[in-house]
Subunit: 438 residues, 2 copies
């Protein structure tokens, strides 16, 4: 399908700029949450929408259109379904309390902010908080609704990481085996002599930049290969996700440091799919989604040869994301059954090596680590999280018996822009719920 | 998104040829149902599928790939969801009987065929038969499964026609009003001085050919406008469904004869959406799908400005299609509620003017008519049907208390190729069920 007739290179620059800084016009700060509310902006209103109100495959990653598009990805891209199955919806008891809105917490600079203010500051599209399995807070903003799937971006990685860890626990997958033993097509790439474990913990050493601010970073060809962003007329790069993966070059010594590179997740998905003979969506449906008692089907973005984007293509409803978080909090048990083996959850929660993680230099995540494609705080509460650009998260605080699922459309992609507000807010809410249980 | 880099005009010719005749190689008959089974063909098997086993936006309408693609449209095109809602699934009691397979019936040439043979002869992907509301027959073939939506093609039209008739019954829509009074953008097109009623019964007089065998027929630009088929590199036609509709020219006198032209359905959808302020998918979800107690969400293909293709873009599960047919059979009542006003169903069943219909020259449909985008037999059983190319149907036989929902991927688009077998088979099954009720 040709959706890029009018696509030009200058448009691509605009797209990259928008993704990077969330600043459509040089020097101007982005619209705030209220001003960028997609209903106020009028995206895709009317039949047909006015030309300047249209969101399409060429502009959907440009803020403020993102505030609409992240809740309407399937209307923009081909997708594969992840069915909830025919089972009953699992219970999420309603124990909402409005006093959370006024909860005050302190930022690093000493200033105070309320919980409600923090949601706007981070362009929250929706948030669900569970305490001891009950919904204590649930709000939607802008284009998002309870039943509507939202793009989870790299939260997707934690699903493929969990599935892979489950296969290892069952003996179906050998974490010490070389990637090339499962996927011979990757033998001559930078992944050829990595182990499955190194891929799962992103300690592979490959030439691949995820720096959104750099237009020459490999993430952009990868996005074009996967049809996530349009290709220039003279595009000569890879035309599928797996085509790109085979071109990735080695750079350094595997296993030494953590380096966050989305391609690892799709290599892992390639391995998992090759080993099981089932697609990511099929595995997710069979082993997790249908067992959670999810309310909604989820879906995964696919490239033009049908590859499901495990690095960031999952879309799901927020309440179902919270269910998955709650399953993890309960050591894999949810909806009356053991969905994820307890040992797998323990392995996630134990985390990876903080020393290897430190090399990546995440200022907002001191002493964290990365394991099975989960971010692990190693703090006193044992917090661990799935995280995706623009503010997506599943945040599990075992000590506070709290799970937060949040979708957002922060104009800045990198979570370094969310964390200075979100992490103190989540921590304050955990303290609050521990002090004042219902 | 650019999915047509390698697309060339000769490929388009091949596509048209394939759609027309179902004959990929000149002079050769198409593969039969067994030989074209998509599992046997191996479409989209493996990670990634081999190059010659891939189905994508450039080739998905080419038989035999259609046998896979019609059950996987959302993996190829952007789509809008039609939610089933949170209600309970409505009951379809199981009363399956295998003796139907051996039911013999006679074709026009005097030869005999069994029911089971008829399914293969017409490349059936799935079929559900209800008798008095119970499932007496249900089978899936190839890529289709009970829970998987399949492309309904022009069966979609009967949904927008029913919704429009409901709005007329409520007084929200005036069937005698001019189209241009609702959609001023169409004032200077061939639809400018047609009435809503003429659009609903396809008695508009416009220059638009739906002859699939003619590569210059307007259906092809319409399909390109809607992004259903790729656009050549030098494409200068309309880039959205509604863009095309505004270009349609008048030809003759409105209201005189029935002429089957898909554009009428999208004009009707434009009117309905403009009047209600809701999209086709939203209306279908609110007024029909969520009330049917559907098992699955459905979805509708969208063009690049988000227009939902009311002429043929609905995808749904077969059992849910059967539920809709059963609601019509029961004069609009199903799942414990009046979903469609009785008067609307009566108006459909009364049909249109057979004299106007006769002018269209459908050899397989003597004395039929067309009303509210339903095909009405006017026969002794009061049969009426929704019909889509390649063999899609919802067939309602009130006298026999029978509803048939069928999806197929017949290599020939026009239903003139299905009817000589399907209509006698359906008629024979009706007689059989009347003779031998359970």
């Amino acid at each position: 399908m040709k959706r890029t007739t009018r696509w030009q290179r200058n448009c691509l620059s605009l797209l990259l700029g928008g993704l990077l800084a969330g600043q459509a016009i040089a020097g101007q700060p982005p619209l705030d949450a209220d001003a960028s509310d997609p209903t106020v902006m009028g995206w895709m209103q009317g039949f047909p929408p006015a030309a300047d109100k249209q969101v399409n495959g060429n502009n959907y990653l440009l803020f403020p259109r993102t505030r609409w598009s992240f809740s309407h990805i399937r209307e923009l891209l081909p997708t594969a379904n992840v069915g909830r199955g025919a089972g009953a919806v699992s219970s999420l008891p309603d124990a909402r309390r409005d006093d959370i809105n006024d909860l005050q917490f302190q930022l690093a600079d000493g200033s105070n902010m309320t919980w409600a203010q923090s949601l706007a500051a981070n362009y929250t599209d929706g948030i669900v908080v569970l305490h001891r399995g009950q919904v204590v807070y649930e709000h939607y903003f802008g284009a998002l609704q309870a039943e509507r799937p939202h793009m989870a971006f790299s939260v997707t990685k934690s699903f493929i990481g969990t599935l892979a860890a489950m296969l290892i626990a069952e003996g179906t997958l050998d974490e010490q085996a070389l990637v090339s033993s499962y996927v011979p097509e990757l033998k001559d790439s930078g992944f050829g002599n990595t182990t499955v474990r190194q891929v799962m913990d992103m300690t592979t050493a490959i030439r691949y930049s995820e720096t959104y601010s750099d237009p020459t970073a490999e993430i952009w060809e990868y996005s074009r290969a996967g049809n996530l962003i349009p290709r220039p007329a003279d595009y000569a790069g890879a035309t599928s996700l797996y085509g790109f993966l085979q071109k990735v070059q080695p750079e350094g010594q595997h296993g030494e440091v953590f380096a966050y590179k989305t391609v690892n997740s799709d290599v892992l998905a390639w391995i998992v799919q090759r080993v099981t003979g089932s697609s990511f969506a099929e595995l997710l449906q069979q082993r997790i989604w249908s067992r959670l008692g999810a309310e909604q089907d989820a879906y995964i973005v696919v490239d033009q040869v049908g590859t499901q984007f495990a690095g960031g293509g999952l879309n799901a409803s927020l309440r179902d994301m919270a269910r998955f978080g709650e399953a993890l909090r309960n050591n894999g048990r949810f909806n009356g059954q053991q969905i994820i083996p307890e040992a797998v959850v323990a392995d996630i929660r134990n985390g990876g090596d903080p020393a290897k993680f430190a090399a990546a230099g995440y200022a907002t995540l001191p002493n964290w680590s990365y394991r099975n494609m989960w971010w692990v705080s190693n703090n006193a509460h044992g917090v661990f999280a799935a995280r995706g650009i623009h503010g997506q998260t599943i945040y599990v605080d075992p000590k506070a018996e709290m799970v937060i699922a949040r979708f957002a459309s922060n104009p800045v992609a990198a979570n370094g822009a969310n964390d200075p507000i979100s992490l103190p807010a989540y921590s304050a809410l955990a303290q609050f719920l521990m002090r004042q249980p219902q």
